[in-house]
Amino acid sequence: MPELARLNGITKSFSGIRALDGVDFSLRAGEVHALVGENGAGKSTLMRILGGELPPSGGQVVIDGKPVHFHGPADARRHGIAIIHQELALAPDLSVAENIFLGELPAGIRWPELRRRAGKLLSRLGFDIHPADPVRKLSVAQQQVVEIAKALSLHARIIVFDEPTSVLGTGDAERLLKIIRGLRDEGAGVVYISHRLDEVFQVSDRITVMKDGRVAGVVATGEVDTDGLIKLMVGRSLKAMFAERAARKVGAEVLRVEGLEAGRMVRSVSFSVHAGEVVGLAGLVGSGRTNVVRVIFGADRPDRGKIFLHGKEIRVHGPADAVRHRIGLVPESRKDQGVVLPFSIRANSTMAGLRAVVNRLGFIKRRVEKSTVGRLAESLRIKMSSAEAPVSSLSGGNQQKVVLAKWFHVDCDLIILDEPTRGVDVGAKTEIYGLIDRMAEAGKAVLVISSEHQELFGLCDRILVMNEGRLMGELRPDAYSEERVLSLALAAGAPAARGAR
């Protein structure tokens, strides 16, 4: 197979700090080459150099056997290189067709022609998306498909996916992987960056592992297993990620919901969570998991149903009410909902419990706040230069620990975590699992949403599976398996395609 791209000895420094150090990478036509490694290992930087978004400090980019110098992404695109970023770059108010052909719209647009071409590309990808719909109306998965169609419209032969499935549920991820295989079979070279190792094994032909800006190893996919790969990434194996624990002591009921209804996404949901218990909420993205916890936390209004806390019915009119009832939420999107990025670690950590550190006139007791945050940071092992540093200066994992610190500070009875380890590197994941364990041990009721089944298996005493707004079933540890979760998540007249809505 011909070699499409080769990166020779690439180095890249950002204001003196070396992000890439002599990295070699090659991509052949008709292969999926996975790129894995912890956050900050240099995967995205390497691909941004391939895509012409960053100039390398040293080394050579070779396309089709010829050395090239890109003067920007447009240059790379002309060489058939497309990068599909984690954060999608679509114009939400323009139509699907306009987005696909955004870079090459003629001065006079012939709409029917444009829509016809867009429709052709989309159906080639196996998705039924209407070219005239505004992108705003699409699910995340569908938006990703639009990005892919955009790459195809430019006749890209080298396509880089930067963590495409991190925001997708299992069903949508499956379909994306199918598209990627299709692209490969048509002779494209695909680079696939992901934290989800099971997918890497499913889809890739070769795997390059990066660590600290260098290549830690290049392996053919069949020659290594998950544990081996994780060892390459961190020098630690998967089984070590979950602490060996004694059976949890499950106490009295903390939360009970009965017949909760909210729009199409929450339909007669009833369940309970006990003190000292970790309950998982599984299902595809869009199955209503997030909607259920948002209703419990008061972020959305229920249409019907009752919420009981410690056996007493409560009404939650907003997050402020929830916090008053000692309920905490670690939301789905860390940067948009979890932290105030430019604010200090100190100010973020006390955000939910400011009343505990102010005097009667509303003045913040600096010394009390500082020592409180110092204790929290130590106990949660937040790696920081100082509590005064902005949260934006922290890695994803440490940012998430700051969100957790917020709820450790106010000491709630029920804590809800929505995708607590999304976009977090393997090292920090382990620590977050440890913290969730600690909360359960301290007698809190814990409700965890996750799209990573292994994560739920490792953490939870029970797993509830949702589909189309309904609870489809409950699994106990002896019944944990990917197949059972999936069969419940996809059960009863609910094709995967509709799960994304």
Binding site: F343, L361, I364
Partner: protein, 327 residues
């Protein structure tokens, strides 16, 4: 290894330099202006003239504090100039019938009420702040014209508000300047040291994260518009106390001057960034520019053009420093 450590240190220093420039860009602008002014006119650097500058900006300055609070939450308040006009007219009207304390208090209360109205619609009904306060701008100016029947209201009997407060000095400092300073000190302390101040800034940075931390965001939003309304009303009262006349034409364009001052002070219209001291500098810069042009005899028509040019330069300087930070 050693090399890596030392280059890392260099990077950190560069970031800090950008940080320092960002923080002190407005100070730098002020210093440049002060030096330029002292070359242009000998009478500039007299205590008398500097206090004169401050007295002239007292009203705008107080408005700018309220505006800063609103802008910190990523909002905007276009109604301040009109509310100042209404307050100017109302306080003159009330003084004809009631005592001074009562008149001033009632006037400030009206400012608070109009601010609360805008704030409630912005916070609870999610009206865009720009549109809501644009409407209030029109309403308040209209009310001012209705109350005054389009005529200036002359304050009779020269009450203490006019003689002592508006025209008087305490320890050789004009009284409105004392008020200006007091407002800035209080606003600065509240912003830096209280729960409310922190939440105002946090809401401007990421309202959703604040809401999901269990904080009632709407009431904080409502509060900043009340503060802005009271500040605007206070500016209107100052105007009447200085001239002895309540007029519905007071404060035309004051909202833009206040926004300019806040922006020259380095605040971001996107919310979350800005400070009281820098806003004060922004106000002072505006005052000095006006004063310089008067001393230098720049004809009135040209002053607006020069002012606009200087605002552009000032903001470019701010952006230049944040650009350096971003790199």
């Amino acid at each position: 290894m050693d090399a890596a450590v030392s280059t890392g240190g260099e990077a950190r220093r560069r970031v800090e330099l950008g940080d320092v420039l960002q923080r002190f860009a407005s100070v730098a602008i002020l210093l440049i202006l002060l030096v330029a002014a002292s070359f242009m006119s000998e009478s500039f650097f007299t205590v008398r003239n500097l206090f004169n500058v401050l007295r002239q900006v007292a009203g705008t300055g107080i408005i700018a504090v309220g505006m800063l609070y609103v802008i910190l939450t990523a909002g905007i308040d276009l109604s301040v100039g009109s509310i100042a006009a209404l307050a100017s007219v109302l306080v003159a009207y009330f003084l004809g019938q009631h005592g001074q304390v009562y008149s001033v208090a009632l006037t400030l209360l009206v400012g608070a009420g109009l601010g609360a109205f805008s704030g409630a619609l912005v916070a609870y009904l999610r009206m865009p702040a720009f549109v809501m306060t644009l409407a209030m701008m029109s309403i308040a100016r209209g009310l001012a014209l209705i109350v005054s029947r389009g005529q200036p209201i002359i304050v009779e009997n020269d009450p203490a508000l006019v003689i002592v407060f508006g025209a008087g000095f305490t320890a050789r400092v004009p009284n409105p300047v004392w008020l200006l300073l007091a407002v800035y000190v209080i606003a600065g302390v509240v912003l830096a040291f209280t729960r409310f101040g922190r939440l105002v800034k946090a809401i401007g940075s990421n309202a959703e994260a604040v809401r999901l931390s269990g904080i009632r965001v709407p009431r904080h939003l409502l509060a900043v518009y009340v503060i802005s309304g009271v500040c605007a009303a206070a500016a209107g009262v100052i105007s009447t106390s200085r001239s002895g006349v309540g007029s519905a034409t007071v404060g035309v364009g004051a909202e833009l001057e206040a926004i300019a001052a806040v922006v020259i002070g380095g605040a971001s219209l996107a919310g979350g960034r800005g400070g009281v001291i820098n806003t004060f500098i922004g106000v002072f810069v505006l005052g000095i520019i006006n004063n310089m042009m008067n001393l230098a005899g720049v004809p009135g028509f040209y002053q607006g053009v020069v002012m606009g040019g200087i605002i552009i330069v000032a903001v470019l300087l701010q952006q230049g420093t944040s650009y350096m930070q971003g790199r």
